[in-house]
Amino acid sequence: MAKYFDMLLEDVRLREGLTACMNCGVCTAVCPAAAFYNYDPRQIVCMVQTRDDATIEALLKSETIWYCGECMSCRPRCPRGNTPAYVIQALRTLSQKLGFFVESEKGRQQLALKRAIGDNILRTGYCLTPRNIRPELHPEQGTVWKWIIDNDEQIYGQFTSVYGKEGAGALRKCSDETMEEIHKIFEVTGGKEFFDAIEQHSDRKAREMGFDGANEEYFMEVYTRNSNEHY
């Protein structure tokens, strides 16, 4: 059995987020995820605190670590100064590094996130841009959003002079030099490697699940699939 707890300890967020939990439950009390998922951050912290590698491995492969919304509501309340959400972040990072995330439905969604957000960062320098919030994938964005996307030049043009162009202002295009720096940062700090790991593990799992690799079809599967067993 690998030393999962030691691996977690390498993450400063775990060291910061977990001292000694006394299971009072103030975190779960206000947790938005606990309100709607079969989820209890207190128990996760408690499980990690056991330092039992088998328990932690099970966690890394579980659905439960993927419910947290990272709102950090748990942080200000904890009487022991813990931050369950930090523990979750550390678990999620390790789960992706080890490729365990593909073992759970919610974990597999990391591919969708990597492609939607991660790739967009490397493409545009921003997490979100109007064009990647496609109304057909975001019906909840409503009629006004569709109107905006249909008339983007006309509407955004009223608020920024650099829509899609280089310069200072909202929704500008980042210069090539800037993008090069961002790419460099991702390479140097392991961001790219991390992205690649997500792709590789997802591809492996996709094939296991009968897809022809982590293609668009698999992307849509992980993006839309809800077994409804999370509540």
Binding site: A34, A35, F36, Y37, N38, P139, E140, T224, N226, Y231
Partner: protein, 109 residues
Amino acid sequence: MINFGFSISKPRTIDIDRNNLHKSNEIMHEMPELQTCIGCGTCTATCTAGNLTEFNFRKVHTLVRRGEYQGAYVEMNKCMLCGKCRLLCPRGINTRGVVMLIKRKLGDF
């Protein structure tokens, strides 16, 4: 209708104000000793059914006391009534009686 691809999740929070505590009160009235549970979990630890399933007696009876009846009947039916928990309960709660009472109240027999 628009197909959003999701629906509004149902709340899981135990809402004492919204829960109908009628049956819970009846249960507590018939079995006041259940209130003396100190939540030690011995019952769950020794449970024959709990050894084989996720059945957690302490959790189920606590939920029932809070007025959360959904699923409790089905859960209680995992119990084999073997009575080990009764022998171990440090507060001497008649746990088998509790199982039977909850089943009776929630199963309407």
